[in-house]
């Protein structure tokens, strides 16, 4: 299959009278790393949340590996699919939250193992073995038995990444993964994301860390006011932006 891994067509999202996304077309190739940047309120996070249907788009469609997400075609009409089918599709897309949202009643290891065990139905031992390996991958193996409240923000976020990885998704979605962290904890999380990028994983990353976006992404998408203003390789979008709005945004980051 040569088509894109992820494709959005004409994605719109309204919150009441407020139109947050106004027709977003996006395509992500297998193995591609895309960074969504732009001023706050530009719709980046909403776009990311629409991709795995944490928000239901008001219009437009999403396809993963060619398969429609959250809807199906019935006699040429789009109809919503069942919660069960949608849940199965969401498993294919790991989502990492800005505020981690680890489950406080479970240890780090249990947080990671719950998906493989209860959702994918692996035998308990196999699920925990897998979870242990994934925790090692994000350098959190030594904290497997700790509850989230005993972990720093950076450690919690790495467990959050492990939880997403344990479902063996085709695509990783990061929603400002370091925005809730103290500055000295940002590095450890970015390192893990960088390692995942080098493994060749496909990812879409909403971030304010422009330097990191340049480092890790091969495609920068600049959004403003619910539309894609400009996109391309970091060297072109970040160094030679064509649009005034991009220039203004990058200028503010440099002086601010």
């Amino acid at each position: 299959m040569d088509g894109p891994l992820l494709k959005t067509e004409g994605l719109c999202k309204d919150f009441g009278p407020l139109r947050v996304l106004r027709g977003v077309d996006l395509a992500l190739r297998q193995g591609q790393k895309m960074a969504l940047v732009g001023p706050s309120g530009s719709g980046k996070t909403t776009l990311l949340r629409c991709i795995n249907r944490l928000e239901v788009p008001s219009a437009g469609h999403i396809r993963l590996d060619g398969e429609l997400i959250g809807e199906k075609l019935d006699n040429g009409r789009y109809v919503r699919m069942s919660e069960r089918d949608l849940a199965r599709q969401r498993m294919e897309m790991g989502f990492v939250f800005q505020n981690f949202y680890l489950w406080p009643h479970l240890t780090a290891l249990e947080n990671v193992a719950l998906g493989p065990w209860r959702v994918r139905g692996l035998p308990r031992e196999e699920a925990f073995h897998l979870a242990r390996n994934v925790l090692d991958q994000v350098h959190m193996g030594h904290k497997a038995g700790e509850y989230p409240e005993r972990l720093s923000g950076g450690q919690q976020q790495r467990v959050g990444i492990a939880r997403a990885l344990a479902q063996q998704p085709k695509l990783l979605l990061f929603d400002e993964p370091t925005s809730a962290l103290d500055p000295e904890l940002v590095g450890e999380v970015l390192n893990v994301i960088h390692e995942l990028a080098q493994e060749g994983r496909s990812m879409v990353l909403v971030t304010h860390e422009i330097r990191f976006a340049r480092d890790v992404a091969d495609e920068i998408v600049f959004m403003d006011d619910g539309v894609i203003v400009e996109q391309g390789p970091p060297a072109s979008v970040l160094d030679q932006p064509k649009h005034e709005r991009t220039r203004r945004f990058l200028g503010q980051l440099r002086t601010g």
Binding site: M91, N99, Y101, W103, R163, A164
Partner: protein
């Protein structure tokens, strides 16, 4: 053992023996009603947070009705009223059902506030790894909500244990019913009700301490 003619302190073991049998019934009614209240309350709370408007409306009405009726009234309706449609419950089952239905409205509110205390991100994180809403309820929401609701549930249990005294009104032979019989037989009313107070206190005190401990634990956890 028979009550001695002299009365007073000497009769305490005899009175206590009879009242303790009543305590067994009190505990039975408490546990039975608690089981109904918790299970039904959980179901009602699940309806209340569901997306079905009819279910939510039903719960609102149910909770409002039982909140506004004294437990004794619902007990009378179940014990005397149901006979009109051919259902005749014995005093103890009637007390269990009456107090249980009444308590389920109360428990539903406790559970609902427990669900509401969870950040919506907890459910989103469950959805994001592919859990259906049902799975999220079972593995993420319920375990946390139950922990949050244990102290208020314990307080409800304490209140319920004391409220079982209303069952004496339909002649369920629990503590207070036996106390009233003893009092009419012996006229040692103050002594007997003092014993009743001591008995209730002994049943309730350990529960109250348990609730205090749960409350401290919850504070350190959240």
């Amino acid at each position: 053992m028979e009550a001695k003619g002299g009365g007073g302190i000497d009769n305490i073991p005899y009175y206590l023996g009879i009242l303790l049998q009543g305590a067994g019934i009190t505990v039975t009614i408490t546990l039975g009603a608690l089981a109904i209240a918790v299970v039904l309350g959980l179901v009602l709370a699940a309806f209340k947070v569901s997306r079905i408007p009819f279910a939510r409306g039903f719960v609102d009405i149910y909770v409002e009705i039982f909140r506004d009726i004294p437990p004794l009234t619902s007990l009378f309706i179940i014990y005397f009223g149901l006979t009109y449609i051919g259902i005749r419950l014995d005093p103890i089952p009637a007390a269990i059902v009456g107090l249980g239905l009444n308590g389920s409205a109360y428990c539903a509110e406790i559970f609902r506030s427990g669900f509401a205390a969870l950040h919506h991100g907890q459910r989103e994180a469950a959805a994001a790894i592919g859990m259906t809403p049902g799975m999220a309820m079972r593995h993420v929401v319920l375990p946390q909500a139950l922990r949050i609701t244990l102290p208020p549930l314990g307080n409800y249990g304490i209140g319920l244990l004391k409220d079982t005294a209303v069952a004496s009104a339909v002649a369920a032979p629990e503590i207070l019913y036996r106390a009233r019989n003893l009092a009419t037989e012996t006229f040692e009313t103050p002594l007997i009700y003092l014993l009743v107070a001591v008995l209730y206190f002994c049943l309730t005190f350990p529960l109250a301490r348990l609730v205090d401990r749960l409350e401290r634990k919850r504070r350190s956890w959240s």
